[in-house]
């Protein structure tokens, strides 16, 4: 039995909206009681459509938003950021990568500073040490030391996502939350980034929470899959269980909506079209 890095027990998150001059107060139940356990070195994929609460859950796991109720345990230690101050030691454990790499990089910050900043804020390393570590990390994510002094606009989308990954890894976290990390990328670039993520997971024994709506990506990268629908978990199991035998109607809808690119289904589609014409 390997150690559990991340555990959620009945996590709930409500948002209170409105209640101002123009509208009555309303409560949105974004996450309605989610429980899960994740072992070290494994990948948990959270799947669902936009608005299902998967990103909200990601924000709770990364200690950005507090949960309304329920328990969050990281490395066996209960954390509630509404109650406790987040120590820099906790910050170092969990990092997040967002969907749009251009939006998450400061356009006026050079890449070297982007990578050095987490170290500056959370550690006592000297400028020379920070620089050295940033250079090493650039090489690890498939960029080069020559990129150290460039600005984000000088990179392509795939390279920017590599920079975002590098920044997240600067503090050697044990847990990485990836919020739709490849859905803004082209297929071939997506393949490169997914390969990079797989390599880094092997090298640093990272644990991933992979948020996505793309089942073909999830099938490739995940060990366990959790399907969310309107804030609830409708399906939770190992990848093979969920993919070979989906139980919930929503999971089946998701499978039906995923484009099929095998020759047989193309043939069937063309035959159906001919028949209709």
């Amino acid at each position: 039995m390997s150690e559990i890095v991340l555990e959620g027990r009945n996590i709930v998150r409500d948002y209170h909206v409105g209640g101002g001059l123009f509208s009555a107060a309303k409560t949105v139940h974004a996450v309605k009681g989610v429980s899960f356990k994740l072992e070290k070195g494994k990948t948990l994929a959270i799947v669902g459509e936009s608005g299902c609460g998967k990103s909200t859950l990601g924000r709770i796991l990364t200690l950005i938003d507090p949960q309304t109720s329920g328990e969050l345990l990281i490395d066996g230690k209960a954390i509630n950021i509404a109650r406790d101050r987040v120590t820099s030691e906790m910050r170092r454990k969990v990092q997040i990568i967002f969907q749009n790499p251009y939006g998450s990089l400061n356009p006026r910050q050079k890449i070297g500073e982007v990578l050095g900043e987490p170290l500056l804020l959370n550690t006592n390393k000297t400028a020379a040490e920070r620089r050295e570590l940033a250079m090493q990390m650039l090489v690890k994510v498939g960029l080069g030391p020559e990129h150290y002094n460039r600005y984000p606009h000088m990179f392509s989308g795939g390279q920017r996502q590599r920079i975002a990954i590098a920044r997240a890894l600067m503090l050697s976290p044990s847990l990485l939350v990836l919020d739709e990390p490849v859905s803004a990328l082209d297929l071939s670039v997506q393949a490169q980034v997914l390969n990079l993520l797989a390599d880094l997971q092997d090298e640093f024994n990272l644990t991933y929470v992979f948020i996505s709506h793309d089942l073909s990506v999830v099938r490739y990268i995940a060990d366990e899959v959790m399907v969310m629908y309107y804030g609830e978990v409708v399906e939770y199991g190992t990848r093979d269980e969920v993919f070979s035998n989906p139980q919930h109607a929503y999971t089946k809808t998701l499978f039906a909506a995923t484009p099929k690119s095998d020759v047989d289904s193309i043939r069937a589609r063309i035959a159906a079209k001919k028949a209709a014409a």
């Binding site: 392509s156 099929k260 690119s261 020759v263």
Partner: protein, 285 residues
């Protein structure tokens, strides 16, 4: 019978500080009425630029040259701006990748839809409203009378894309160009939008050009496929033979980058694939 859109030897260049950059180099392309053509390629392969050239939407820094470019019997190269504007938006319409960015945030979606009808169809106010409601029903927006008064930010991405489609098909175009219409959307919404586009295409006998990087989308919609790489056409085939026996190594590379085609625990990327091809070609010669 002449094709709906026929382009021969289209090239598009951009003036940059480091000299001329050729985004599209000698593309031949044709679409029939009632046909779905997919143009596939990575970002930067010039697939959008070629279509923007047809629409006349490129900035002034671009130079467009072609041996011939004809749409529905009109020679588009000989047209002046006024003649072109009569066709663009009415007979040829385009849908863009980011629906929220392509709608004006300051006006209601109803106003933006009716604007097309006013300019191109010269309809009066009552007829415009009636047609707008009809179009919203057609693209599957619930309670159209109320939604016409919504602003773009009040609608979801999928809904905004439906509005864009409604605007594009408002004048019953003969050709619809969809530039990555579903890239920003969820799979379930993607499926709905693709079904809507293909359904409309079949119903109205439009020509449809789908620009995409997603081979899955191609497999779901296209009749014929053009694969483009670095501004050049790599391969052209009907959809079945393209997926059954892709001829060009680049096409095979694109197909192998699909996660469901992963062999072993690594995805093959286009760069890996091209390198491998070059090596094996070098070894063979």
């Amino acid at each position: 019978m002449p094709k709906l859109l026929e382009i021969k030897n289209l090239s598009v260049g951009f003036e940059t500080s480091s000299g001329q950059f050729m985004a599209v180099q000698g593309i031949d392309l044709s679409v029939d009425a009632r046909e779905v053509l997919a143009i596939v390629g990575e970002s930067g392969s010039g697939k959008s630029v070629a279509m923007l050239a047809v629409m006349g939407l490129l900035p002034k820094t671009a130079t467009v040259t072609a041996d011939s470019m004809s749409f529905d019997g009109h020679d588009m190269l000989a047209m002046n701006g006024r003649q072109r504007r009569e066709i663009i938006g009415r007979d040829v319409a385009m849908i863009f990748q980011e629906p929220i960015a392509s709608l004006n945030p300051c006006f209601t979606v109803g106003f933006q839809l009716e604007e097309v009808l006013r300019v191109h169809m010269k309809m009066d106010k009552k007829a415009r409203r009636a047609r707008a409601i009809e179009l919203f029903k057609l693209v599957g927006i619930p309670s159209p009378e109320e939604r016409l008064n919504s602003f773009p930010h009040q609608m979801s991405g999928g809904q905004c894309q439906r509005v864009m489609i409604a605007i594009a098909i408002a004048c019953n175009p003969k050709l619809l160009i969809a530039d990555e219409p579903t890239t920003a959307l969820d799979v379930t919404i993607q499926k709905q939008i693709l079904d809507l586009l293909v359904g409309l295409q079949a119903k109205h006998g439009m020509g449809l050009i789908m620009i995409t990087h997603d081979m899955g989308v191609v497999a779901e919609t296209a009749d014929r496929v053009i694969v483009q790489y670095k501004g050049r056409k790599m391969e052209e085939a009907d959809v079945l033979s393209l997926f059954e026996s892709p001829k060009h190594p680049y096409t095979r590379a694109l197909l192998s980058a699909l996660p469901e085609n992963a062999t072993g625990d690594r995805l093959s990327t286009v760069a890996d694939f091209m390198k491998h091809e070059a090596e094996s070609a070098g070894a063979a010669s």
